[in-house]
Symmetry: C2
Subunit: 257 residues, 2 copies
Amino acid sequence: MSKPLILVTNDDGITSQGISVLVKLMSRIGEVIVMAPNSPQSGMGHAITVGEPLRTKENRLFGEDIASFECSGTPADCVKIAQFQLPKGRRFDLVVSGINHGSNTSVSVLYSGTMSAAIEASLDGTPAIGFSLCDYSNQADFSHCEDLVVNIAKQTLEKGIPRGIALNVNIPAKQGLPIKGIKVCRQTNARWGPSFDQRKDPHGQDYYWMKGDFINLDKGEDHDEWAIGNNYISIVPCQFDMTGHHGIRQMNDEWDI
Amino acid sequence: MSKPLILVTNDDGITSQGISVLVKLMSRIGEVIVMAPNSPQSGMGHAITVGEPLRTKENRLFGEDIASFECSGTPADCVKIAQFQLPKGRRFDLVVSGINHGSNTSVSVLYSGTMSAAIEASLDGTPAIGFSLCDYSNQADFSHCEDLVVNIAKQTLEKGIPRGIALNVNIPAKQGLPIKGIKVCRQTNARWGPSFDQRKDPHGQDYYWMKGDFINLDKGEDHDEWAIGNNYISIVPCQFDMTGHHGIRQMNDEWDI
């Protein structure tokens, strides 16, 4: 049986440490193709590039045996163009994104370029996973989670996930104790409050740096922030259908339509 | 009773025709503040600006009576900074985004800057609506939908929508026949297939323009593409919780965790 074909991408850019770890781990279980942004794309959400052209450039950043390309676009662009460049009839068996330097729990899934790549892949039913380490350091230690990352990718290939689902996997930062295990979770009900640092430039004009205060409103113990806070890996299965069906019911009952 | 406070934003930029129509219509029912991008932001998804500073600049584009600001950031940035700049204790009663020049039905909600602004507003429970006209022309005719846009905004304020919901409203392009009415819908199961126009630059290097083929897989008649195709306004209530709960069940049943 041929090895599964795995696309690796990310949002921190092709030279980040997290993607090199993910390429190494995925090479244990499949044939890897890399298509990743040529510059950091954090916070890009599900942006795509429609108003200007895209470029790709082949490199050998991950050794002679791994086909690797940098792309001028966003993470979602990378998935689209990698799918487009595959020979006719071939498909990716798995798309993985990351490992992101920093958490993508809760509502951060909306802002996350890492997850937008995974969700883009899920649109045609390709199994997809976004991996994030809850450690923002560029020199973060990934050694405590390597076997678990491989395990999650293998189970996605072998046991499967429902069609159209992308997994949002968050991994606790390395601590004294080993990770306790894996929790399959719902998305935490939390948000980033609007918070800015207001400054004056040398010409006396105001400008603003976004900061953001994390506001966790969720008292449950079945959500991803809870899992990370208790030293578990969290997996939230994410769907691209954003319909709030309870809203359809309420509007059909109460509105004049 | 004081008038409701309404934030108007968009993704086509503050000088587009669509936002000027929306500002005019919202002024009929509330006190309007405008905070919109100073350049077009189509396809920006839920991008936010974390790696560089933001600027805002007051203008009087919509007359002396309307507080109006242009912002250097994305639609989601505009909502955050407008919330931040409100005097302490004040909140928007409604956030509206658009009117977008072009459709945002189906999975386009993921790529849409128009809808990302509405979803950003919904995160703290502010009622929010993204309006899109299914006509990409910069000189599009909005006259056939003005009363319906006002009606939808008024009902959102008066009858309400569930907390955390943002409405994705799409409006058929002006045709010979008047719009038949409003349908509250689910998101169409469709996607944009990866499609690019591959060209060579004057230096012989390849570049790519994203095109995208719309692939509609949905045989139902209760979704937004169906409504638009049948000359109805579609309203999809959208939620920011992307959890696919059926995925939690399957993984807990079938995976080794």
